[in-house]
Amino acid sequence: MVLLVARKELAIVLSDGRIRTLGALLAVMLLMAIGAAVQRFGVISSERDMAQSLVAEQWEQQGEKNPHAAAHYGLYAFRPVGPLTFFDTGVSSHQGVSVWLEAHRRNFAEAPPAADLGSVARFGEMTGAFVLQTLLPLLAILLCYAAFAGERENGTLRQVLATGVRPLQLLSGKALGALGAVMVLLLPVVFLAVLALLFSESAISVLPRVVLLTLAYVVYAGVFVMLSLGVSARASSTQAALVMLVGFWAITSFVVPRIVADAASLLRPLPTLEEFRQGVEQDLQTARDGRSVDEVIRERRQQVLSLYGVASEDELPINFQGMVLALQEEISDVAYARQFSQLQARIHAQLALHDLATLLSPRMAVQRFSAELSETSLDAQQAFEAEAEAYRREFIALLNRDMTFSARGGQVDYRAGAELWSQVESFAYGGRDTSRVAAAAAPGAVLLLLWFAGTALFAALAVRRTDLALR
């Protein structure tokens, strides 16, 4: 019976001109967005790979110089882009794409792409995810707003129920029919996207994610299908159902996310750049048990001189300046780690508000899941920056060790060359491991499923009312 209803619903909705128009609009926009994404992925991916190799080449060819001069020259870590980056840019447009890795300090990532997009970009980036997140709900609403209310107004609902079909069966059939229509419109585009992905070797590895994303967006459409069916069952008229649903869609998709973003930044503000810098300075001043860096260095000098039984740095078999630099590095590492972790904690406090608001906006739930799988979430950026920072510490430590053990005591004109530079391996970001991605994506998935379960329950309760055909 359920399948019968579903087949009938599918046939009806697919013959509706409005649905076909919106479906075609959705498909064209998706194709445009995915086409642009494929092109941008090709260009930007090769550009970043090239930049990373160029930086490595510049590093190797920097000539002879003091290792600490090389440490200040530094290296750059460029964030590689994944095949799904341009399907869903997530928060990546507002995140820096490169980090300057140098001695003494951990820098913020630089050059967020949004800075070059102009003011009109705030209307939204035309990505595949944007099209699906904004248009799929509208399609679902159009498919279902009249499902019960329309039949009730026409008087056909009473006849259908008189055939013995139970309201829950009717609901299931209508939901399946609507979801079937969504799939009919969506699957060709997914198929084309997969075809586009197959042209890129590195992209094949993301196919499981494409499957999960497709499922997530079907569930997202399902949320609006169930909600629309429930509202249609309870509303006094098709018009009332339509007004309520479109209002809900506009408010939860466009208004709630913006209010949440503002509330988060105002209620739990992040530090200013000045405060952050002052925090680092303060931590540097009282680096070790409240003692200044100079005191710590003086103490270390005494220890080293007495260990080697000499009176001055010049008599040491090692270069004390190299040790000082390593010590300064240890101190600044602690200071930056502390300030960055405090900053992360405050960012996570803001994200907790986002999570809370996800209960008010299904779009925010699917956004979160989609960005995690597309590697464009905050967590993905933090993983990249953490790996870049670990790499920075490692190569600076290598340079300081070389200075300590290769230069004579007190020597200030020590130079290292290509042999040392070649010991620094080129930065290659490994990406997040699957368990981390799964952990980061899980809340979004759970919230989305909660939305689906909630709206399905609402629809089930709505159709079980005894006055379903009479209101």
């Binding site: 110089k65 750059y76 997009l117 209307f123 950026q381």
Partner: protein, 468 residues
């Protein structure tokens, strides 16, 4: 006369409709909330910049005092570190500055990008941005301000109030009864539109007026406030005219609703996003990644040229080498290296500016495709948050930076110490506002023409509208 009667009758009906009052209350409440949020957002940014300005001013005063004490002591050999133009210009003094706010800036606080930098004697590509640290997750969700309420939300309320303006009467069969009272269909429809229009626009105008007074005071009312309200009013009028036009298509109420919701989607969401995509595709910004590698390449070459000077001591650690002469040579080398790099990357930076300008011009041209984009660009300009003003400010900062850094460069090159009088006489940044912020004649006129065209077409169609 007839219009007044219909208006009175419609008012009686509207008065008893809770939906209308909820929608109006929501719209005005949200406007007030958005204005307050914008004010708070700007407050955070301004406080961050002001704190940096205060610190810079304290440093400035302390430097002058230190130099004066040294000058009074008359001991040339005991020059303080800040007498070195290199140390002073490259490490100590800075001029933090922000794009000055205009009276209505808070109404567009989330739409524009705050501009604030700190100018030092370092080359312009090393100019540091200042302000608050932003959470990318918040930026990605977009901001909430009065422009957003007007451009995104006001049309939804208008659509909700007007999608069944005429169709519902026809569906209920009441239209022939109304016409039988001697009211022409045109008067009936116009009166209903007028009643709802006055209610919504008055509500929005009142909320807007309160918001304008709250964020900018009475001075903000003329001309900024008035032009703002006019543009918002014309934008609202467009949506009323569109709803009226759709009502004359002789479709059912729910079909009208679907068409109007689709119009909202296309005009407010899809076209602006497409314009953004198109402008970014036709005039893409040059690659920042390429800029990074070019800076690095240029720096490496410049440093190689100055290798002899640099290798005398450790890079960035002149104190390790000892000797004031070596330190001055170091500063000179830093400055020259940066100038070489700046000269090398200047064409690339110019192409960033050119492309941004072209993108902006294209967006302005294509704005006629969407009243939402048109209203948004106009309101953004009135609030002083538009790209053109930001560009004018950046140009002024560039000129100031050139003058400021040249003063230090000259002394660094000649290794001449700095005096307290010279520090006192350092240039002060000034920005002359570009004219025409409130001259939004073009967008206003286009919105008016669009609204009138829809209205006239709708009225013409009413003549052939079936009463039954």
């Amino acid at each position: 006369m007839m219009v007044a009667r219909v208006l009175r009758q419609d008012w009686v009906l509207l008065r008893s409709s809770p939906g209308l009052w909820i929608a109006l209350l929501l719209l005005t409440g949200v406007t007030a909330l958005a204005a307050a949020a914008g004010q708070a957002r700007l407050g955070l940014h301004d406080a961050a910049v002001q704190s940096r300005i205060d610190t810079a001013e304290q440093t400035h005063v302390a430097v002058i005092q230190t130099l004066q004490r040294w000058e009074q002591a008359g001991d040339a050999a005991a020059a303080p570190a800040v007498a070195s133009p290199g140390a002073l210009g490259l490490s100590v003094l800075e001029t933090p500055m922000a794009l000055p706010g205009v009276p209505l800036a808070a109404l567009a606080a989330a739409s524009g990008r705050p501009q604030a930098v700190s100018v030092t004697a370092h080359a312009d590509y090393r100019m540091e941005s200042i302000g608050i640290i932003e959470n990318a997750a918040n930026l990605a969700l977009g901001g909430f301000d009065v422009i957003f309420v007007i451009v995104f939300l006001m049309p939804i309320v208008i659509i909700a109030l007007t999608f069944d303006l005429l169709s519902r009467e026809r569906e209920l069969g009441t239209l022939p009864l109304v016409i039988a009272q001697g009211v022409s269909l045109r008067d009936f429809v116009l009166a209903r539109v007028l009643g709802r229009g006055v209610l919504v626009l008055l509500g929005m105008a009142t909320a807007g007026l309160v918001a304008i007074l709250a964020v900018g005071g009475p001075a903000a009312l003329w001309p900024d406030g008035l032009v703002w309200l006019l543009i918002a009013g014309l934008y609202g009028a467009f949506w009323f005219a569109l709803a009226l036009f759709v009502n004359t298509l002789r479709l059912g109420s729910d079909q009208n609703g679907v068409i109007l919701a689709s119009c909202w989607l296309v005009l407010v969401v899809v076209i602006p996003a497409l314009v953004s995509l198109l402008s970014a595709t036709l005039y893409p910004a040059p690659s920042r990644v390429l800029l990074t590698t070019e800076i690095r390449e240029a720096a490496a070459e410049a440093e190689e040229r100055a290798a002899d000077a640099r290798e005398a001591f450790l890079f960035d650690h002149p104190e390790l080498a000892g000797g004031a002469g070596a330190q001055e040579a170091y500063f000179r080398q830093v400055m020259e290296t940066e100038r070489d790099v700046a000269a090398t990357i200047a064409p690339l930076l110019e192409s960033f500016a050119d492309q941004a300008h072209q993108r902006d011009a294209l967006v302005n041209r294509l704005a006629v495709l969407s009243p939402a984009l048109l209203a948004d660009q106009a309101l953004l300009s009135i609030a002083g948050m538009d790209e053109a003003r930001a560009r004018a400010w950046r140009d002024a900062v560039g000129e100031f930076h050139a003058a400021w850094s040249e003063l230090f460069a000259d002394r660094i090159r000649r290794e001449v110490q700095v005096t307290s009088a010279e520090v006192e006489a350092l240039p002060v940044f000034g920005f002359s506002e570009p004219v025409g912020r409130h001259l939004q004649l073009g967008p206003g006129l286009v919105l008016l023409i669009m609204s009138l065209a829809l209205l006239i077409t709708a009225v013409a169609r009413l003549r052939r509208y079936p009463i039954t």
